[in-house]
């Protein structure tokens, strides 16, 4: 681990806004991508000699391609509404982690080169030349944004720092300063098919092992098929589901649900990954290339429907962008949403009484639910606004007897990020991840203290991985985080 010398923030009696501590999180940011990681993504291997020129040209190009960027850079009035809304500000107290200050790192350069005021009176309007120091601040602080969009909820103009941070990362990748973690993962997706670099034989082996486990557990033959042409449903799920805890218990849950519903399904070795890290680095091109694998897999396997597993930003890309990037999906069965979330699928079965569930199987758990940012603020489930809040809770309540929500200002669209989203789930950012988790940990502590909550469910692979890592820092157990479909898996009575 790169940095281990930091103190876990203490729980505060009231969730106060911390006094600012300038530059406490100033640093070098995460590991920079090496040339062999940059190249396959179409980026220069290392920082270009004429990086300033290229960066400004890229910024100009993005301003013409993205209305969000153009409007957001112009419209901010510095009202301060967002200043206390970021979990990283609350956890670190570094003023550059205030959303508006984070945006200003890009805005100051925009003002200097693209606005009359900044060209004529830079000091007056806070414009700044694009220097090496500015670039270093970009790299450091745009990798302290998990693109969770909490600030955008509270902005009177809907200014979304995620859009700014994506643009900044795209500019940096284009001048040769890419981030190792994200870009390495995208490379693995291109080369092997998934983030973890699991090749097809390893995948097949894992799935066979899971089938045996379920058989031992339940004495029922539940299948986890791979590359089965002609199946009704293609399931695309984060590769952590094949490998990590508690994710894998969720995958077992999906398998049991499909088994019980009697609907044929398959995973694909070509699209063995739902996550789309192209979004984190703000790259339309890479995001599209990753999304197209899913289209190809659906065509190759001749499926009728596509269902996504539990993964927050994968669901955002699927729900909001898949049709745009890889559509039209006129070859699929139009009677179902394209794509569909596994929670929508399971909820539908529960509504129709098609799943036999024994809630008491989860009686040793007193549950709360962590709304994952990308699901809560950037996507939907079901056919009414806010379905993404209702459906996961309905599934938990159908499978558990004890359920308690965390405080109202920390859930639904006001949910706090786990601290590891947006391409920050890397060990070299551990200090940031632990500190950024503070607001969520405080909310969890509230329900633990007041309602005896023992477990928190989540439907995002990154949240689950992040929590298994940071929960112990705050005195919780790493296994207090569970998948929603793990609850389904434990409650379902197979026949």
């Amino acid at each position: 681990m790169a940095k281990a010398n930091f103190a876990t923030p203490a729980f505060r009696p009231y969730p106060l806004i911390p006094a600012l501590q300038a530059d406490v999180m100033k640093g070098n940011g995460p590991f920079v991508a090496k040339p062999e990681i940059q190249k396959p993504l179409g980026y220069p291997g290392e920082l270009l000699d004429n990086w300033q020129e290229v960066a400004l040209a890229k910024m100009g190009e993005l301003l013409k391609k993205y209305r969000s960027l153009r409007v957001f850079l112009d419209a901010c009035v510095k009202c301060g509404a967002c200043t206390d809304k970021c979990h990283y500000l609350l956890g670190t107290a570094d003023p550059k982690n205030m959303p508006v200050a984070r945006q200003d790192l890009l805005r100051q350069v925009y003002r200097r080169y693209f606005t009359l005021g900044g060209k004529l009176f830079p000091k007056l309007v806070g414009a700044q030349d694009l220097t090496k120091e500015v670039l270093d601040d970009w790299y450091n602080y745009y990798h302290q944004c998990s693109q969770c969009r909490r600030c955008s909820v509270f902005c009177p103009y809907g200014i979304d720092t995620a859009e700014i941070s994506m643009a900044a990362r795209e500019i940096m990748a284009c001048v040769g300063k890419g981030q190792k973690y994200c870009n390495e993962i995208i490379g693995k997706v291109y080369k092997i098919g998934n983030n973890l670099g699991l090749p097809e034989p390893a995948l097949r082996d894992t799935l066979a092992g899971l089938e045996e486990d379920i058989k031992l557990d339940t004495d029922v033959d539940v299948r986890l098929p791979l590359d089965e042409a002609g199946a009704e449903i293609l399931v695309v799920t984060p590769s952590a589901d094949f490998f990590a805890e508690p994710h894998i218990d969720g995958l077992v849950g999906y398998a049991k649900v499909f088994h019980q519903a009697g609907i044929s399904w398959t995973l694909s070795s070509h699209a063995s990954e739902a996550a789309n890290f192209g979004m984190f680095i703000g790259s339309y091109d890479n995001m599209r290339r990753i999304a197209l694998r899913i289209r190809e897999a659906a065509l190759d396997l001749k499926v009728k429907r596509i269902v996504f597993g539990e993964c927050g930003h994968a669901w955002r890309v699927a729900y909001s962008f898949l049709n745009t990037l890889a559509g039209p999906f006129d070859f699929l069965d139009q009677r179902y949403p394209i794509p569909q979330h596994i929670c929508e699928f399971t909820y539908d079965l529960i509504q129709r009484g098609a799943l036999k569930l024994d809630k008491s199987a989860n009686d040793h758990r007193r549950m709360t639910f962590h709304d994952s940012c990308n699901v809560a603020r950037a996507s939907r489930m079901g056919n009414i606004p806010g379905g993404q809040f209702i459906i996961p809770r309905a599934i938990i309540k159908a499978t558990c007897n004890y359920y308690y929500d965390m405080p109202a200002d920390t859930i639904h669209d006001q949910t706090f990020c786990c601290g590891g989203g947006g391409g920050l789930l890397t060990d070299d950012l551990m200090e940031l991840r632990v500190k950024g988790a503070l607001p969520r940990m405080e909310a969890l502590k509230y329900v633990v203290d007041n309602h005896g909550v023992t477990h928190m469910a989540a439907i995002c692979a990154i949240c689950k991985s992040q929590f298994t890592k940071v929960l112990p820092f705050y005195g919780f157990q790493l296994d207090q985080i569970v998948s929603i479909h793990q609850l389904v898996s434990d409650a379902i009575i197979l026949k």
Binding site: V71, C82, L116, F121, P156, G158, T324, A376, R380, P385
Partner: protein
């Protein structure tokens, strides 16, 4: 003085109107290549109109965020509207009845406008977080508005100007009586008031005052949540990726 102010008023109006039109054209012509509404978002076009109205009229998101900023912000903006409506009487002859009815409200709205601005300025100075994000222009903008507000109040409540003569001047400007303008009353608060308004109009299209048109173009607020039902592709993306395959 009359000539100077008349010419400045034309210049300022031209910059304001053309500058703003150009900005709006710019915002409208830059594509939004991806669906990015902040959820939960409305499923229909009319739902989106309601959402934007609730932002523009009630400052809904700001209310959720911070009650103090909301209070001062609403006080200032609403009062500004009332005051502006009151000013219509200088530009039209005969004066419409409803503009006459607005007069007393407009007079006292100026106090709310003033208090709102002082509140916003105080927050900017006193609250560490907001001070950190403030540039000189952020203070100057509030001060400029305070100058406009207080010089206007001076004329209403302290040192009256020859309002009949002033209206004659404005009407001669509006009716383009070039170089045959009616003389502008030489009253210090009025000259300061006008100069500050002219300054504001000139900087409008180049400054953060663009939040006024910007709010209508914000993709996180003005998009319909229908990405699964309708494909949403920007022209540049079609040109880049889909021309050869079809």
């Amino acid at each position: 003085m009359t000539t100077l102010y008349a010419i400045l008023l034309y210049v300022a109006t031209l910059i304001f109107v053309l500058g703003l039109a150009y900005r709006i054209y710019e915002y409208a012509s830059v594509p939004a290549p991806l669906k990015i509404p902040t959820m939960p978002a409305p499923l229909t076009r009319s739902g989106v109109v309601l959402r934007i109205l609730s932002e523009v009229v009630l400052f809904q998101s700001l209310f959720r965020s911070n009650k103090w900023i909301w209070l001062f912000g609403v006080m200032f903006h609403l009062a500004l509207w009332v005051v502006l409506l009151r000013h219509l009487r200088y530009f039209i002859e005969p004066v419409w009845t409803w503009v006459v009815l607005v007069q007393p409200f407009g007079k006292y709205a100026s106090f709310f406008l003033f208090i709102g601005l002082v509140g916003l300025l105080t927050r900017r100075i006193v609250v560490e977080r907001i001070r950190y994000i403030s540039n000189p222009s952020d203070y100057l903008m509030l001060i400029l508005l305070l100058v406009i507000g207080s010089s206007g109040m001076m004329m209403t409540f302290v040192k009256h100007t020859d309002i009949v003569q002033f209206k004659a001047f404005i009407l001669s400007v509006v009716h383009l009586k070039l170089f045959h303008w009616q003389p502008l009353p030489l009253n210090a608060p009025l000259l300061i008031h006008l100069a500050a308004v002219i300054t504001l109009m000139i900087i409008f299209p180049f400054s953060k005052l663009l939040h006024a048109p910007g709010v209508f173009f914000s993709p996180t607020r003005n998009q319909v949540d229908n990405s699964r039902e309708q494909r949403h592709v920007a022209r540049w993306a079609i040109e880049k990726f889909e021309t050869s395959s079809r």
